[in-house]
Amino acid sequence: MIEFIKTLISGLGLGSIYALIALGYTMVYGIAKMLNFAHGDVIMVGAYAGIVAFTSAGLPPVFTVFLSVAACTLLGVLIERFAYKPLRGASSLSVLITAIGMSYLLQNLALMIFGSQQQAYPQYVKLPSVTLGGITIDGITLLTLGVTALIMIGMSLFINRTRLGKAMRAVAEDRGAAELMGISVDKTIALTFAIGSALAAVASICYGLTYVYIKPTTGAMPGIKAFTAAVFGGIGSIPGAMLGGIALGVIEQMAKTYISPLWADAIVFAVLVLVLVIRPTGLMGKEVQEKV
């Protein structure tokens, strides 16, 4: 039982990281109607930004966090402005290829700058672990869970309650009609990339503090798993990305503990296939009914 609860909690921690990344995938898909395969690599950039800020430049933790978020946000906006925006109106295949190219570009730039050796992410946040009823929970895992919960509440409020959040939903639903309302589609898409990338920065911090070692391909696997989580939850759906990310993390840790660490990834992707066979739109995917 104790083992089960411990596995569940570490699954929730991992799932939180996936959920943060999946939010970026799903928002960009919903609003810009594209799969941003470079999104995972933004996490890698965020992690290196943390290493440079804390380890190399000796900045205090608060500035390190700030710098990581700023670097990722700027990167996301620049990627959209220079790689994807010129392709607005091009076929979705061209955009997809560009996104894959951007992913490799970022990985190779990191390889050139930081080399292929893995580097340690500075452990600038130290939290004592908590023991509750015989179960010891890592402090960083609790921090990850808390931060993710706050971000999810914040994102839900932003999307559902604020004028800007509603404008994002309007653009996601019908670009032309949103333009008629005076909403700038270009600005809304840029904002979406900014938010998604800022969330990726938060994910990079949680990832670095939990898993420590960073290399140029660090973003690839969490990226693809978060994409899986977004599809699993229903791509385009924000609650779906949250639920999908958490579910995927828990399934992965359970598979590692109770089946085999070697099989964990295969099981994760098999679950995705199964869900999509039963519910092609994902767990929370919308089947839109149009009335004419």
Binding site: K166, A167, A177, L180, M181, G182, S184, V185
Partner: protein, 236 residues
């Protein structure tokens, strides 16, 4: 005739190699109801979409004295030009109230509540359903929401694309009654309709479009009485 609130000069619109609208010119004077009638595919909706800057066009489009040719689509509403698009295109996953809020996206928050009350006075049914998801409304209610949404910014000119489409005759009558009321309250209206009879009976003037060109124009009653219009669009 002096330059109207809306003036379209030699406008052409193409989709790839298809010329959907060919070199058309027309005017709408302040306070008028003007209708563009014509068969399906004549280029009426394309014309409205080009004026709203949702489609690239060549020629000249002037609104309230300024050229719209370099104005991006999202900035047209700020000039006082709103459109109720074909098929309504309300935000189906958002509530009635949120749809109206989107209509007031460019207006200051302080005047939004007042404007919403105004829309609710005109469409009491929308107030009853204010928190309902728009996709669950009936066709007539959706049309009212689309019109209410377009009115939220208090436009000077309202363009409407087929407001009668798919509605029962009694609702069509109601919608056209509202168009008259809006016009009486000072809104200039450019109306695109396949239902030529209904459109010409509310309009001051009309233009007849055929395969991308304007083939006839005149006072609404003249067009209603014209044998050619009768034969082609009014069922004999």
């Amino acid at each position: 005739m002096s330059e109207g609130i809306l003036s379209v000069q030699n406008m052409s619109v193409s989709y790839g190699s298809i010329h959907a609208v060919k070199n058309i010119s027309f005017e709408v004077q302040e306070g008028e109801i003007v209708t563009l009638i014509g068969a399906n595919g004549a280029g009426k909706s394309t014309t409205l979409n080009a004026i709203a800057r949702l489609l690239p066009a060549s020629g000249e489009i002037r609104f309230a004295g300024d050229s719209l040719m370099h104005v991006p689509g999202h900035a047209v509403l700020k000039k006082g030009l709103a459109m109720v698009p074909e098929g309504r295109r309300i935000f189906l996953r958002m509530s009635v109230e949120e749809n109206l809020e989107m209509g007031a996206y460019i207006t200051p928050r302080s005047s939004m509540q007042e404007q919403m009350e105004d829309v609710f006075r005109r469409f009491p049914r929308l107030e009853e359903r204010r928190s309902q998801i728009a996709g669950t409304l009936s066709g007539g209610e959706q049309q009212m929401l689309a019109m209410g949404r377009a009115l939220m910014s208090k436009p000077k000119l309202l363009m409407m694309d087929e407001p009668s489409m798919g509605l029962a005759p009694i609702l069509v009558e109601q919608i056209f009654g509202i168009i008259r009321e809006l016009n009486a309250a000072g809104t200039t209206i450019l109306l695109v309709e396949q239902n030529a009879q209904a459109a010409l009976s509310v309009a001051d003037r009309g233009y007849v479009m055929e395969t991308g060109r304007i083939v006839m124009s005149g006072k609404a009653e003249e067009l209603l009485a014209s044998p050619a219009v009768k034969k082609a669009y009014l069922g004999g």
